[in-house]
């Protein structure tokens, strides 16, 4: 299924626009197209929200309800909020629009051998406003199975624009409701087979010509929190040759239990402990992704990544988070980069013939 006005896949190749996709959605599309694939999914665009609100007649109803509302009368605000949210969650979505969303969900599921749980998250267009509680932008629903649960939670994200808090915030700050919109992200839940972190430098000495990778089985929490000793691999950043590697014990792993909708811890057997948790090809892929993240964000990055058990080889490496590396990059470059002078050959640089350079 192709991306369209109402649905935009992360990898659909369409230029992301904040006003269509919201902040979170736009960022996911941008990362995917920059070679930093996030868990696959799609965005239900603001255009769909707008069309639904208009065609279902909710927009008109809202302006009536909100007219003359007193911000001090909280019980009235609560009542109005409940009515609007009831409208959004119950009025029928126009058939053509609904079919697009169902089709997108099915197309996403078709990428896997069997249906997989997804997360649904709101993606507001106004995230740059100072107060994060402006809209229900934090709304995230995890471990959703089946199209019914997904469409219901899309509506709940939409409805979160009209929580009492959101209505009050707009009233108090004189923010008009006209043009208010909301995109929703539908994204595969990560099923980590192997995961870890990658830093685009050697954190032991700040050497920026290296990439350092920690890798262990299952979900990355145990690596991040230091509950397991991961494999530690240092690669040359330019050629991706392994410069140093140390196999960690990796005695336990956290594995998603989709049935119970939670993570379970289990022991890792000796055979898997004894070998590196990443194959050569996977290691190279992680390093390349870290390198792309650094290039994209133009400073050393500290990324979290995972290999997803539900995706085929070559498409299963996912970027979960990328943030600037702060420990060393905030220091001046002089420590990791001594200015090299002296020695027997110091005179050479001064004697280089022009044509040689």
């Amino acid at each position: 299924m192709q991306s369209n006005e109402y649905i935009q896949f992360f990898d659909g190749g369409i230029e992301p626009k904040l006003e269509n996709l919201g902040g979170k959605g736009a960022s996911l599309v941008t990362m995917t197209s920059a070679g930093m694939p996030v868990p696959p999914g799609f965005v239900v665009t603001t255009a769909q929200f707008d069309a639904f609100m208009d065609e279902a007649g909710i927009t008109r109803h809202i302006s009536q309800l909100l007219a003359g509302l007193d911000p001090e009368d909280t019980s009235q605000v609560d009542k109005v909020s409940a009515a609007i949210r009831e409208d959004i969650c119950s009025r029928p979505v126009p058939q053509a629009m609904r079919e697009l969303t169902v089709g997108a969900y099915e197309a996403l599921m078709n990428r896997f051998d069997a249906p997989v749980p997804v997360a649904v998250r709101s993606s507001a267009t106004a995230e740059d406003l100072p107060d994060a509680s402006f809209a229900g932008q934090q709304d995230t629903y995890l471990w959703l199975d089946g199209v019914k649960a997904v469409t219901e939670h899309i509506r709940q994200c939409w409805a979160s624009l009209y929580t009492s808090r959101a209505i009050l915030y707009r009233l108090k700050n004189n923010i008009p409701d006209e043009g208010l919109s909301m995109a929703v992200v539908v994204q595969k839940m990560v099923n980590s087979r192997v995961s870890g972190v990658a830093i685009t430098m050697d954190p032991t000495n700040g050497d920026r010509s290296k990439i350092t990778i920690d890798s262990s089985y299952g979900v990355g929490e145990m690596v991040v929190s230091g509950q397991v000793t991961p494999d530690n691999i240092v690669l040359d950043k330019v050629t991706l040759a392994v410069v140093n590697e140390h196999l960690g014990d990796k005695h336990a792993e956290l594995i998603p239990d989709a049935g119970a909708k939670r993570l379970v811890e289990r022991e890792v057997d000796d055979e898997r402990r004894g070998r590196r948790s990443l194959t050569d090809a996977e290691l190279t892929a992680v390093a390349q992704m870290a390198k792309r993240a650094e290039k994209h964000y133009k400073c050393p990055q500290d990324i979290e990544w995972a290999l997803d058990a539900d995706l085929p080889d070559g498409e299963n490496l996912l970027l979960l988070q990328s943030r600037p590396e702060t420990v060393h990059s905030s220091k001046p470059q002089t420590a990791p980069q001594p200015v090299v002078t002296g020695g027997f050959f110091s005179g050479f640089s001064a004697t280089v013939p022009k044509q040689a350079v």
Partner: protein
């Protein structure tokens, strides 16, 4: 940790039949009883990279001239602060080397001398290198004028009438002396730029290791290495000839290239054949002055004297072109990749370090190509002419009855040859029989027996106790002899997962395939498409087979050995300096070669090898 040692020279067994081997070499080339204590205190490593097989007495000339002239540039010309030359000995037929350090208290005084001398070369690089080509070519041209005709029955009348007063034997003696002198001369020139190339490389190398701690050696090599080098020119000429043959539709005439005369005759008389022959003749001079060996042995075959070798390669290239294969090296892709690597490392640096990177890399990239390219002019061209002249002399003396086989002169030392020549001219001059024909055949037979007996044993990789760490930069770079490598030889190195060999990660990539062990250039024709070449050492003229193979593994050689350079050029994985691959691995075994890590694993168990033929695997299901 107690350091293990290699055997002392006196502890190595002399192969049966090789007793008295010391006396076939000059006294100064063998370990001395009187110096035992001093000599045993030094660490010696075997240079089987350049001298993989036992020296016949005459052949020590290459080892002596090369290693002596290498040393003189460190210790007398350039005054390299921390390295003198390399002492060398022949033991049981193989060459062992021991680098000479500069005493600590003399290093500082050499620095200004060194900078002045080296500075002059680097500032005048292009002009001096141009002059070098003229000098080297002049030597070769003069060598070509030397000949060794049979002495006449009587002095020609014109020498009587002109009052010349000499019989011509003085010319024979002079020609021999001159030939030796000319070889010595070009070996001096050989190192005029070579050490500089290494110095510039090492300067950049050390800089990279400081600003990028643990940067792989491979990355540094790639950043300074030439891509389109003269080293590849002979092979490229053959490829062009193959393409032209296909364009002109001449393929049918390359069916039996072992018959050189008929092949060239058939091509010449075919339509368009004269165009091909013209290009072939053009390629021959000078690019067929190319040996299948390395220029250090009298038995080396040169393309221009054995045209069945290049014609065979051409026939193979023709077949591959007809099959639609791309036979040219991916030069543009290699240049693009090299430029990417340079750019990405450079971008990691700032300010002064970036400027230093540019200057040092620039210098290395200017000076280093000489290291690749000189080889053609000295080892191949000069030595090709030299050995041809020596064979001419040997055949003349064979005709005079001095020995039983045409090339037996190689069993005499070069100073013994001069004695034999004086013996010849004396007998000829006085009108009597020279003594040689009654002396040399028996002595040569004895020596042949010794050389053959010595050949039955492989050399020890090293002798005596190694230093705790190998720091001498030339040793590390030219021979791939590192602390880790020495530990590996001693069996104390880090184990390779799943058993296997460890060497230098010389060219990146991982492949699996079937081994083909080659210990002699004559076996090259056995190599099948897609096999992994396992060799003691490789030579530049093996170029054409690199288009056929998947990877290379060698016993000896560092990052800048021929196998390493060519594999990077062809984009093939290579592991060099494993010490024992050619004796450990058997042809037909499946290998996994990891040129990024420097490991070689033998994948199939030994007994699988014994099972061949149809139904061979049925037993495994019983």
């Amino acid at each position: 940790m107690s350091l293990k040692s290699f055997p002392k020279p006196s502890e190595l067994a002399v192969p049966a039949g090789a007793e008295g081997w010391e006396k076939i070499y000059p006294y100064y080339l063998v370990f001395q009883d009187k110096l035992k204590e001093q000599e045993d205190a030094k660490f010696w490593f075997c240079d089987s990279q350049h001298w993989p097989t036992v020296f016949k007495p005459f052949e020590t000339i290459g080892g002596e001239f090369a290693v002596k002239c290498l040393g003189q540039y460190n210790s007398r010309h350039l005054m390299i602060p921390n390295a003198n030359g390399i002492e060398f000995r022949i033991h049981l037929g193989y060459l062992y080397m021991s680098p000479i350090p500069v005493p600590e208290d003399q290093i500082a005084a050499r620095v200004p001398l060194f900078e002045q001398r080296v500075g002059h070369y680097f500032q005048n690089w292009e002009q001096l290198l141009k002059d070098w080509h003229v000098k080297v070519k002049g030597t070769i041209d003069e060598m070509e004028t030397i000949s060794f005709p049979k002495l006449p029955d009587m002095v020609p009348l014109e020498d009587i009438t002109s009052g010349k007063g000499k019989d011509g034997s003085e010319k024979l003696l002079e020609s021999y002396d001159r030939l030796i002198q000319l070889a010595y001369q070009n070996w001096q020139y050989h190192f005029e730029f070579l050490n500089l190339g290494y110095i510039a490389y090492l300067d950049f190398f050390n800089f990279c290791k400081q600003v990028f701690p643990n940067v792989p050696d491979q990355s540094i090599a790639t950043m300074v290495q030439g891509v389109d080098m003269e080293l590849f020119r002979p092979d490229d000429e053959l490829k062009q000839l193959a393409k032209l043959a296909v364009e002109l539709g001449l393929q049918a005439h390359f069916g039996n290239t072992d018959d050189v005369e008929s092949t060239l005759g058939a091509v010449a008389s075919a339509p368009g054949g004269d165009q091909w022959i013209a290009q072939y003749e053009g390629a021959k001079d000078p690019w067929f002055n190319f040996t299948v060996g390395n220029g250090f042995y009298g038995h080396d075959k040169y393309w221009n004297e054995h045209q069945e070798i290049p014609l065979g390669y051409i026939a193979d290239y023709i077949r591959r072109v007809d099959e639609g294969q791309e036979i040219m090296r991916p030069v543009e892709a290699l240049i693009a990749e090299r430029d990417r690597i340079i750019e990405e490392y450079r971008d990691l640096l700032e300010g002064d370090n970036q400027a230093a990177f540019d200057a040092k890399r620039g210098l290395a990239a200017t000076a280093y190509p000489y290291v690749e390219n000189h080889n053609f002019y000295i080892e191949h061209w000069t030595m090709g002419v030299f050995w041809r002249k020596i064979r001419e002399l040997s055949r003349m003396m064979h005709a005079e009855g001095f020995w039983t086989e045409p090339d037996d002169l190689l069993y005499l030392g070069r100073n013994e040859v001069r004695d034999a020549l004086f013996d010849l001219v004396t007998g000829w001059g006085v009108g009597a029989k020279p003594i040689g024909p009654d002396y040399w055949p028996e002595e040569i037979e004895r020596r042949r027996g010794i050389v053959d007996a010595l050949k039955t044993a492989r050399p020890a990789p090293a002798l005596n106790t190694p230093p705790e760490s190998i720091t001498e930069p030339f040793t590390r770079m030219l021979w791939g002899i590192t602390t880790e490598q020495v530990q590996q030889w001693l069996g104390a190195g880090e184990e390779v997962e799943g058993g296997g060999l460890r060497g230098m990660a010389a060219s990146p990539g991982v492949v699996e395939g079937v081994a083909r062990v080659v210990t002699d250039a004559d076996q090259l024709s056995e190599i099948q498409q897609g096999e992994i070449l396992v060799a003691t050492v490789t030579a530049p003229s093996w170029g054409p087979i690199f288009g056929k193979i998947k990877a290379t593994v060698t016993d000896i050689g560092g990052m800048m050995s021929h196998a390493a350079i060519v594999c990077r050029e062809y984009g093939l994985p290579a592991v060099t300096g494993t010490g024992s691959a050619s004796t450990t691995i058997k042809t037909g075994q499946r290998l996994r070669v990891d040129g990024t890590k420097g490991t070689v694993q033998i994948l199939d168990a030994q007994d699988d090898l014994l099972v061949t033929g149809p139904g061979a695997h049925s037993h495994s299901h019983v």
